[in-house]
Amino acid sequence: MIQLFRVSKIYPPNYPALTDIHLHVEKGEFVFLSGPSGAGKTTLLKLLFREEEVTEGQIIVNGRNVTRLDGGGVAGMRQEIGLVFQEFKLLPTMSALENVALAAEVVGMSRRESRRRAFHLLRELGLKDKHDARPLTLSGGEQQRVAIARALVNDPILVLADEPTGNLDGDMAEETMKLFLKIHEKGTTIMIATHDAGLLKRFQHRAVLLQRGRLMGDSKPAKGEVEP
C-alpha cells in the first residue's frame, strides 16, 4: 500500500526533517508512526498525501508515484485517502452533516447520496443527534468523530491520522482509537502519527519509530515493543 524509497525532506534553508527513510506498509496494516515532537512524523504524513514534496526519493501509495503527480493527480489520490488531524479541520460555517457530505460531493457524488452516507456514518459514530450541529458547538471528541466520518465517507483504502487524540482527554482518546480499530477491521490501511507512548502500549500494533528525522525502529505487532 505504501512504499518509501530513500526519502529525504529538507526544509529551507537547511533543516533536515527526514533523512533516508525506507518503509513498506502492506495493505490492511495498522501502523503507528511514533517518536517525540520534531521527529518528522507529521512531515512523513504530509509527504504521503503530497502536502509537502520530497527533496529526494520516491513514494508509492496504492500503486501511484506520489512524487510525480500533477494537480489533478493529487486531488484524485486524496479522494482515495481519508485524512484526520489533531485540530480537526472542520468548516465552522457548516453543520456536522455538511462537513462530512462535503468530501463526498467533491468526488462528484450527488447531494442526496452524499447526505445519506454522511447521515449513516454520523449515526454509526454515535453522533445521531448532532448532524445539524455546527462544529464549534460540539466537544473535542465529537468534532474528531465528525472529522473521522468525513475521512471515511468515500470508503478510503487508506486513512492517515496526525495526532488524532492530541486534543482529547483520556476517555475520548480511547474511544477515538477504538473507532480506528473498527475501521481497520473492515480492511482499511491505517497509519496514525502519535507521540503518546501510552497509546502504543494499549493498542499493540506495528510501530515505526522516528527520531530526528531518521527511522530508528520498526516493531512487529506480535512483540508490541519498539525494536531499535
Binding site: 502536502e51 493529487v74 486531488a75 486524496r78 485524512l83 479541520k89 467533491v106 462528484g108 450527488s110
Partner: protein
Amino acid sequence: MKFAHLSFVFRRVFQSLRDLVWTHVLTSGTMAMTLFIFGGFLLIQENLHGLLRGWGSQIQIFAYLENSLAQADLQSLLGQIRSYPEVESVRFVAREEAWENFKKTLGAQSGVLEGLPPDVLPSSLEIALKRDYRQRAAVADMAQRLRGVKGISEVEYPEEWIEKLSLLVLGVQWAKWIFGGFLFIATLMIVGSTVKLAILARKDEIEIMQLVGASAGLIRAPFVIEGMIQGIVGACLSLFFLWLCYFFLTTHFPSALGIFPSREQLQFLDIGEISLLISLGWILGAGGSLFSLRRFLKTW
C-alpha cells in the same frame, strides 16, 4: 464537469452569499465606491467633451463680400463654398441684416450710429465647418483658401479663441488617459486588496477543500462566480449613486451649471460607458478572485 459538481458549485455560492453576507456586502460596497469614482470621472470627461463640442459648433468663419457682387455671382459663390468638403453650412447675411444685428449688439448705445448710411456694413457669409475641421490648422487653412476666392474681400475668424479651444480639447484628451489610467490602476489595487482580504478570511475553507480532494477548478469556481456577482452588484450600485448625483445636480442646481447653454446638454453616461463600468466590475470581481486565490491555492 459532472452535473453533481455544477450543482455543488452553485450551492456553495448560495451558501456563501447567505452565510458570509457581510463579507460580500463589504466587498461589493468597496467595489461600488471605487467604481463610483471611476464612473464619476467618466461622467465628468463625457460632459466636458460635450461642452467642448458645443463650443466648437460655434466656430464660424466670416467672409465679407465685395459691394459690387451681383446676385448671380452670389449664388455661384454660395454653391462653390457649399461644395467644399469641410463646410457644414453657409448663411448669407445681407447688409440690412448686418446693420440690424450691429444695432442690436450696441443696444442702448445704438444712437452713436445715427447719421451713418444703413449700407455701411458689407454683406457677408457665415461659414460653419464640420466637426472634424473645427481645429486651428483646418480653420486657418479654410480661411486662407476663402481669401483667394473671387467676390470675397476679407475673411475673419476668432483665431485666438480657436487656439485656446484646441489646447483645451487636447488637454482634456490627455487628462482622460492620464487620470483615467491612474484611477483604473487605483481601482484595480483597491478592489484587488478587498477581494484578497475576503479570500484570506476563507483560507481554511480552501485548505480543507484541497485536503478532501477537491480539484483546483472546483475550488476556484464558486469564488470566481461570487467575485462576478460582487463586481456586477458593485458596478450597479455605483451607477445608481452616479445617477442620483446626476439627477440631484440637474434638478436642484441647473443654474450652477450655467456653463452649459441648456440643461439638456448635461449628459449621463451613454450605454457604452455603462457597459464599460459593469464589465469592469465583472472582470475586477472575477479576476480579483482568481488572482487572490493563487496565493492560497496550493498547486503542483
